[in-house]
Symmetry: C2
Subunit: 162 residues, 2 copies
Amino acid sequence: MKRSELATRHCSIARAGAQIVDAWTFVILREVFLANRRFDGLRAQSGMSPRSLSLRLDKLVEHGVIERRVYSSKPERFEYFATAKGLALWPAVIALKQWGDDWAGPWGRAGVPLKLEHKGRGHPLRATMVCQTCGEPVDARSVHAHVSPAMAREREVMAQAE
Amino acid sequence: MKRSELATRHCSIARAGAQIVDAWTFVILREVFLANRRFDGLRAQSGMSPRSLSLRLDKLVEHGVIERRVYSSKPERFEYFATAKGLALWPAVIALKQWGDDWAGPWGRAGVPLKLEHKGRGHPLRATMVCQTCGEPVDARSVHAHVSPAMAREREVMAQAE
């Protein structure tokens, strides 16, 4: 199976992956969330080649994760903003940031690269996941997964294709 | 800059990306979290070629995200389990799953592929992010980001490398 086929699997993670998951995409989203919105700035801070950056920006625009807004008409220049769909990726970006803080160091005396402050509250922000229904903290051991009939059928087909 | 250089950037997201972010990795983690632990099962459900799967499993083992445990000695066969570092990725996997549920459909009458139940509580689980300090729900608009001096220096260098 090709990576592009992930886009049609009956799996939210596979489809999400097909739309956005690669390391560069997360770096671009990091920059947009830091309000670094212009091509040259994105190129400088990502270290990507102009061509790679351009392709990935196009893909993210195509999937509706970011949008272009004109800030100069002669020459025509754009800034990139997260859409509602892009803002909805914030928990995934933050979960990955915090995982990197915890597991991708050592950061040494410099400490973690980016400290989050809870805006308007004046304290550091560490995000944690809770159950929306009961408010309890949740982790990998808190869930039972129920595969839907449609996903179960797809899994059966995949298993038999062996 | 090459993708491999992301591993040494002073950025948790870049380093996390260098270790784990690609769509296939998330699909493998999904399967391990669903207790599909053996090579043949992982191959069937991911649809990856044996070579691609093998390379990615090796990389995840090397980074300490999953570990091999022998379940048969003749022939030698392994099962894959999430380590503490791998279990710590659960929030990122779930954030991506929920984003896919919300934004990567339409799922049609079949509904979302996988429903989560809060184990021992008997209600559906939707995970939401809150501030660990004050317990309030947080999103992209809840934070100020403070770039550390080390990250600021690196950004300066990247900007000047233009």
